[in-house]
Symmetry: C2
Subunit: 296 residues, 2 copies
């Protein structure tokens, strides 16, 4: 049986694992994302060890972005214009390929998470859906009619602008590119900057949560109207607050106001906006699936 | 050579034609959209005449929506929850199939326009792009990685919400479902309702145009961040004001603020937000291409 490596190269932490799917993932390691040199150094050492134990067929990388995924580009496989200090224009594919003599595939962390949920999780058998993560940042991957959507680059859907009522919320926003885009007002970083308390420590009755539900619902309603997904999977640290799900569903329904008739039934909506079935393994499993796909 | 029929069944007018592509379109007729009975009656009479002259292989219908395109649904081929008086839950496919003994395909007017531009127009050779029409209403079709995007239904991207500054523009919006969504504040109907002058009669220095550029650019920036299109084709009556194009391009660039690095070059942007190459024939030609596809 073929064995694959998967790296979830997130902006906050890296997860590395080896296996062929969710039932035989082994030897997972997690470590914080520091400098590119140190972080990739740890990943490379891990895969060199693993490969010495049992040969890996290929490795998939689920990286935070924006990424250059245009194979004809001089910066193919790079993280490009990220605001993350020290990481702009990091040659992810080059660093890993130079040290590991193994075929390597790369896609966004969220496209990989979508791929993991498509293969083994909440989106099995579907053709069109969105995987959205709301954590330190906000990003989304899209499977459209059975294909991972890249287009000119890849979705950067956390950065859409939504109606933002400054009378209700005077916070100016956190995004260094767009200030008060969705990520700029609703990401974990924005919550922390806005309230000076990390999202996971905010009490359940804190006014932050009503704003959060409103912003997430506005963004989801927009995504639904553009992409027409069969489901939306909401992952990431902020969404580990599961009590947000029913509130978001109801507000999305109000915002669409009967226009998308398929969603009028609340039972439908419960199966429409859902948590990831693979929990915090969607990304690394998607990276393994990506590795499998490039080996075919 | 096979001959196909195409109907652009728009909310304002119907266009019917026969041919196999842009070089042999013949006998086009156009008539206003009145009641379903009268309007489809005229289309049926036209295709019965044409079919008597020379047998048609199949007919494609490019219809305004929302449409039910789920083949398993009891209302497959219907226009569903449209605000257009007399047209909600019109069985488009049924009415035409009952009278014309010819295979009939149906998709949204904008998906068909995208298909026309993909086959013969501005999007030839591309994999992922958006066709957006800004006319009486606002709607968009998407080709994603080479496939028309339907998902759960089909995009209804004219109805996204964008930041709307009531201090700059006190107009409440025109959309019966969402009031001040993009269509509700920027469609031709909204312009007419807002200023009591039809868009085509507004002087070029009218303040309406600055607002229009702002709203369109906000929507396009959101679409770009979600879909990552290789180009956006802007059609429809409002966009026949070609001086809007350079203003929209510049404002989109400002809104994205360097985040989508591929668009930083203004030359790139000129080839990125473009008018339809098939002019006002995108829809009917896309309907003919749809007819060809269902005959394969």
């Amino acid at each position: 049986m073929k064995l694959f490596g998967g790296i979830e190269a997130g902006g906050t932490k890296f997860v590395c694992s080896v296996g062929s799917g969710p039932y035989d993932l082994s030897d997972e390691i997690r470590f914080p994302t520091t400098t590119p040199e140190e972080t990739f150094g740890r990943a490379i050492a891990y895969f060199q060890d693993q490969n010495a134990k049992q040969k890996l067929t290929s490795i998939g990388v689920a990286a935070f972005g924006p990424l250059d995924l245009d194979i004809k580009s001089a910066t193919f496989g790079y993280i490009t214009s990220t605001p993350k200090p020290g990481w702009a224009f990091t040659n992810v594919l080059g660093i890993l390929s130079d040290e590991l003599n193994i075929p390597i595939g790369i896609d966004t962390d969220v496209n990989c998470a979508a791929l993991g949920e498509y293969e083994w999780g909440a989106a099995q058998g579907l053709e069109t859906f969105i995987y959205l993560t709301i954590g330190t940042g906000i990003g989304g991957g899209i499977v459209a009619e059975g294909n991972l959507l890249h287009g000119a680059m890849h979705p950067e859907m956390g950065h859409i602008r939504i109606p933002y009522n400054r009378e209700k919320d005077a916070y100016k926003g956190y995004c260094p590119y767009h200030q008060d885009c969705f990520e700029g007002i609703a990401s974990g970083s924005a919550i922390n900057d806005r309230w000076k308390i990390p999202a996971e420590n905010l009490p359940r009755n804190h006014p932050a949560w009503d704003l959060e539900v409103e912003y997430i619902a506005l963004a989801l309603a927009n995504y639904i109207l553009v992409v027409s997904p069969q489901i939306i999977i909401l992952g990431g640290g902020v969404m580990s607050q599961r009590e947000l799900f029913p509130k978001i569903r109801l507000r999305v329904l109000e915002l669409l106001n009967g226009y998308i008739s398929k969603l009028e039934n609340k039972g439908t909506l419960e199966n429409f906006i859902v948590p990831p079935e693979l929990g915090n393994k969607s990304g690394v499993l998607g990276a393994i699936e990506l590795a499998r796909r490039i080996s075919l």
